[in-house]
């Protein structure tokens, strides 16, 4: 008798255990019913973000959502902060039927991974909103960043840009002043002169680390042959046979030969390069993005002055300093959303990039996307550079675009800058993919 009862209970237990997955995950699919209280926008939105929960960008997003909810009580936004893996986590989630209404990622990732999942937002950009002072929303945003969407998505606006980023040479202005460098170099010859002056003053002209080692060669070769041809270097080993590629490699080899590179460059692991720059204060230049001052903020001494300038022109090059690497993060809206949800989502993005845009600059030292915002002091010179760009290189130059080639090129560039291999050896090693 007792054993039969026990058997029944075990059977029920097993069934319950097996049934839980069926019932537990169901809520992701159900659409909540939101009572229409007549205050306008109504929606319950799921926002999947590329920021981590403790990053300032995430905190600003949450503040903006709270504020937006006060003005629009019918709209509730729930955040999931996935970190940078968000770009593929979102794609998988949407494919498996999870409700994701808004998502953000770097524009290049949106282009590569989210094309099938996002809505065309073009009609919303020409409307006015409570915080746009009577102007169409489009006019509030940095033109180069909105134009990026048109360039990547066949003349359609598919994301609201925020947290723009530009990639250029960052420098320690204090060292420049001490070495007697009065103006930023515009040509390669002037640049060599600048390096020499800095070296004579007893400082290290250039450093890099293993996350950004392709930057110097990448920028030089892209200036020399243009981005279309430079992108082939990431995917086609035969493209390296172009004699101009060797020419670019020789220019970088020359910098190493003259001793302009940090002696530690061959073994600098990220973030050694940038941290040494702010802690030891004896390195002048480092190619990096506008996120740099914020990344090293906790170790930067007071009085450290950041400067930035565009990569110089190179002899025989096709591009000048109006070409540069930049990108932006963007907020996209799922194409599975209802008209109501889409309106609410876009209105929130407008709120974020108008009323809360200054917070990005003030609280997080990040480039603001709104044309009316004031840039952080550390990035004022970067602003001039970015506004001067009219031709776009992909973020961190095209040399980083190939999954099969990126590590190989990085390694070879590290050895070239460390003076361990010649330019010919570099071309041979970097093209072996």
């Amino acid at each position: 008798m007792k054993s039969k009862l026990v058997r029944c209970m075990i059977l029920l237990g097993v069934i319950a255990l097996l049934a839980t997955p069926v019932f537990a995950g169901g809520s992701a699919e159900s659409k909540d019913v939101v009572a229409d209280d007549g205050s306008g926008l109504q929606a319950k939105l799921e926002y999947w973000s590329s920021w981590s929960a403790n990053e300032p960008q995430a905190l600003i997003l949450e503040d903006a959502a709270k504020d937006f909810n006060k003005l629009n009580p019918g709209v509730k936004i729930n955040f999931t902060f996935n970190g940078r893996d968000n770009r593929y986590l979102t794609a998988s989630a949407i494919q498996s039927g999870t409700k994701v209404d808004m998502m953000d990622a770097n524009a290049d990732n949106i282009s590569a991974l989210w094309r099938d999942y996002i809505a065309d937002l073009s009609p919303y950009f020409s409307k006015t909103y409570p915080t746009t002072n009577g102007k169409p929303f489009l006019e509030e945003l940095m033109p180069s960043m909105t134009k990026l969407s048109l360039a990547l998505f066949d003349d359609k606006y598919v994301f609201i840009p925020f947290v723009p980023q530009a990639f250029m040479i960052f420098c320690n202005k204090g060292i420049f002043e001490e070495a007697g460098v009065t103006s930023y170099p515009k040509t390669w010859d002037e640049f060599l002169g600048t390096c020499e002056q800095i070296k004579r003053a007893g400082y290290i002209p250039i450093t890099s680390d293993n996350a950004y080692n392709t930057s110097w060669f990448g920028y030089y070769v892209t200036r020399l042959i243009g981005d279309d041809e430079a992108s082939e270097l990431a995917t086609d080993p035969q493209a390296w046979k172009n004699p101009k590629v060797l020419e670019a490699a020789k220019a970088i080899e020359e910098l190493a030969r003259r001793g302009y590179y940090d002696p530690n460059i061959a073994s600098n692991t990220y973030p050694n390069g940038q941290q040494s720059m702010v802690i030891n204060e004896n390195i002048a230049m480092y190619i990096n993005g506008t996120w740099l001052p914020n990344e090293v903020a906790t170790t930067t001494p007071d009085g450290f002055k950041w400067g930035s300038f565009a990569f110089p022109t190179v002899p025989g090059g096709v591009d000048d300093q109006t070409a540069g690497a930049y990108s932006t993060y963007g907020i996209s809206v799922s194409n599975k959303t209802t008209e109501q949800e889409r309106e609410a989502a876009f209105a929130f993005a407008v709120h974020l990039t108008t009323k809360f845009d200054q917070a990005f600059a003030d609280d997080a030292n990040i480039v603001p996307v709104n044309v009316n915002s004031t840039w952080p002091e550390d990035l004022l010179e970067a602003r001039e550079v970015l506004f001067g760009y009219s031709t776009r290189y992909p973020a961190q130059t095209s040399l980083t675009k190939g999954a099969n080639s990126k590590q190989i090129i990085l390694d070879a560039a590290q050895k070239l800058m460390g003076g361990l291999i010649t330019a010919e050896e570099f071309v041979a090693q970097a093209s072996r993919f």
Partner: protein, 297 residues
Amino acid sequence: MKLSKGNIFLFMGPAVILVLAVFLYPVFRTTAMSFFDVREIISPVHKWSFVGFGNYKLLYKTPLFITSMKNILKLWLYCGAITMFLSFLFSIALTTEIIGKKFFRALVYLPNVVASIAIGYMWLFYVFNNQFGLFKTLFSFLKLESLAQVQWLSSNYIFYSMSIAFIFSNVGYYMMMFIAGIEKISSDYYEAAKIEGAGVFQSFFKITLPLIKGVFATAAVLWTSRTMGFFALAQVFTGIKTYTPMLYTYIVLFGTEFSSTANNAGLAASSAVTMTLIVIVVSTIIQTLIKDENHEG
């Protein structure tokens, strides 16, 4: 309660179903995926396009994958030999009657408890740093200038640096296995040998070694499967010489932060299948070569 067949199935049921669903089904699906061109892991089956052995052919032609295979072979062989040797050495030392036996066992095992990523970054940022790292400071203090000058994280040395970190975190785990194996040997054997007049070395080679052959086999098999999944330290010590097949699979599947050039889950699947087959083959060979001696107790 009677242990009838029905009861047995009832108790085993949940575990068996979970194993089938969570382990076997993905294995079959991944193997199937490796013969198709698949955009993403969860792409529905009707979106797959058949390519036969195309993914495998592409894979074995990709220099980055071949390099990663060579790296993992070096890791498996060299680090394996050194780790097993050190673990065995420690296990012998810590099964004798020395003072502080329990303390030393815990000490050697401690790195195994800490997450690989944390260990990796400790080595990367602190020990191997060539300006203020532990090695630099230590060797300078000992006036060993040539050792102090070594650029541990440069392309030439990074493989060895990573190997040191890898061995450091694994010795404890295998040491525990060997200790368990040694302690299982009945002390009757040793007493009998002592009475017969056998010395320490004779006891070791004639009693200890043969009776823990099985542990060696298990350790080798575990080492093989754990090494093939080498990922965390490879992420920390980035470089060509430290690239591993697991890292390759990950990058093919998810792309780097800026590229994401045509993700191919089918290619990643073929890489996963290759790794699994190698582990199975190597494990089978090891288990056939080293046959455990049956002993009582």
